[in-house]
Amino acid sequence: MYSKKVMEHFMNPRNVGAIENPDGVGEVGNPVCGDIMKIYIRVEDNRITDAKFMTFGCGAAIASSSMATELIKGKTLEEAWDVTNTAVAEALEGLPPVKIHCSLLAEEGIHMAINDYRQKKGLEPWVEKKGTHHTHEEGKEAGDS
């Protein structure tokens, strides 16, 4: 059910772990299925120089965390803010419809980490653009057995 890319990131996740004394942390919970993702960032000169994650969740959530941290490393905060869940899902060569919300968790985690950094610096947090991302579409229910 998962693409090769998802499986590759799931089996060999990049950037697992915590950053000591991070410049920003975002911890988000998934209201849909109850999973948790934590994103850590190191920021120098407005640029993300390191990113790590810890995730309690499914294969798609772990692969999304891995991909999302890869995508934001080296980016300015503005650029990283614009990394959407769709971008994460596309970089993973697609996610099953019921798993789109797992990539959303990554987007929200990044936003929260960036705003955590901004608030620590005494800056205004950026506001979420509403309605730009997809939540999960209704997937078909698998049979139990």
């Binding site: 499986m7 089996m11 772990g17 299925c33 309690f56 139990d144």
Partner: protein, 396 residues
């Protein structure tokens, strides 16, 4: 992953058809393809084979052959038993009693009947998954027309006190159905001793083919038909018989009913050994379900701080096929209703792993799971924010 050991531990989902079952079926796909309703030779052969399978099924259940009706599996049998009884007895009442941990083939059928004006009581279970028979008795009203309680649960393996409930149903003259899909071949099933009026079974759970099942209907009980059409199955279940499937079911149930204590002793021993080992070797684990009243092959353990689907994916990469009650695999993104009903917190249900053992499992399979599982669990825990939090709290 070629050349790697493959360990199948998902026998509650389905089983590999037994070679004797396949051998018994093949002639009915190839040579005796006649329609059992026709009168020439190859049709008579098919007719006869269906009746032999009926006798074998009846013998295994302690029933009469005239009480066995072949269906397309457990789901159809459950639907027929429940809808058929509800509509046949709707002049008498509109109340149905079931449990919170039934298979969706029962729960969604009851849910649909609620939309048709029936009322349904969903009895709770205790922390081990047991239905309390006195709860059943208390729930009965003058309007009660059906009690449907599963014989054993497919997720946690808890075996329900069906004979006790059967007595209560008889005392109150309420029709009693049990979904015995997980039970055939695992423990002896005798419809008279259980006191059931209707019993569902499905061949693919006991080394038979998929899409073949049966409904036992006690003589004198007359649920309405689910499928209308031709006069097959004594005019109760229309549709040209799935002859090869029925033959396969017959062979499979014959094998499944033979020496149950002997055949399950080994499986039970592996189950107990592996369960004890996991609980002792891997911290923050708990067994879900009943310690004793449990299907011989069922292990259901929750691993705190991690999620089941990611566990399954890693296990699969090591050649192990298993199952979970995690919300992330359910499609509906709700955790298993069974694990919720036994009172597990959401995040503990999330980390549940079901290993269901079967006849072809070997000591090497057990050893393979033992060599792989601790690494899988710690790998996921190392990336879990919940595990991290727990460790921090310990230190402080």
């Amino acid at each position: 992953m070629t050349g790697q050991r493959f360990v199948y531990m998902d026998h509650a989902a389905t089983t590999q058809p037994h070679p004797d079952v396949i051998a018994a079926m093949l002639p009915y796909l190839r040579d005796h393809y006649g329609n059992p309703s026709s009168i020439y030779g190859i049709a008579r052969d098919a007719r006869e084979a269906v009746e032999v399978a009926r006798q074998k099924t009846a013998a295994t259940l302690g029933a009469g052959p005239e009480e066995i009706y072949f269906t397309a599996g457990g789901t159809e049998s459950d639907n027929w038993a429940i809808k058929g009884t509800a509509f046949a007895q709707r002049k008498k009442g509109n109340h149905i009693i079931t449990s919170a941990i039934e298979h969706h083939a029962v729960l969604h059928t009851c849910g649909w009947l609620e939309k048709q004006g029936f009322t349904v009581t969903y009895l709770p279970v205790d922390g081990t998954g047991l239905v309390n028979p006195s709860d059943v008795e208390r729930a009965i009203t003058e309007k009660t027309i059906l009690i449907t309680i599963m014989h054993a649960n497919n997720e946690i393996g808890t075996i329900e006190p069906i004979a006790e409930i059967g007595k209560i149903a008889q005392e109150h003259s309420v029709t009693f159905h049990t979904d015995a899909v997980q039970v055939v071949g695992a423990i002896p099933v005798n419809v008279k001793e259980l006191g059931v009026d209707l019993l569902s079974l499905s061949a693919h759970k006991f080394y038979g083919p998929k899409g073949a099942g049966a409904l036992y209907i006690r003589g004198g009980r007359r649920p309405d038909s689910l499928l209308h059409g031709g006069g097959q199955e004594r005019k109760k279940r229309a549709g040209t018989e799935n002859v090869a499937g029925i033959v396969g079911l017959g062979k499979a149930i014959e094998l499944a009913g033979t020496d149950i204590p002997g055949r399950t002793a080994v499986i039970r021993a592996y189950r107990d050994q592996l369960t004890a080992w996991i609980l002792a070797e891997i911290p923050h684990t708990r067994l879900n379900g009943h310690a004793v009243q449990r299907l011989p092959g069922n292990i259901n353990i929750s691993f705190a701080f991690i999620e089941g689907e990611s566990m399954l994916l890693l296990l699969d990469s090591f050649g192990i096929a298993a199952s979970t009650g995690s919300a992330c695999t359910s499609g509906s993104l709700e955790p298993s209703h069974v694990l919720m009903a036994i009172g597990l917190p959401h995040e503990i249900a999330h980390g549940s792993l079901r290993l269901t053992l079967g006849e072809e499992n070997t000591p090497e399979d057990i050893a393979h799971v033992q060599s792989v599982l601790p690494g899988v669990v710690s790998r996921l825990r190392e990336m879990s924010p919940l595990y991290q939090k727990m460790k921090e709290q310990r230190v402080s």
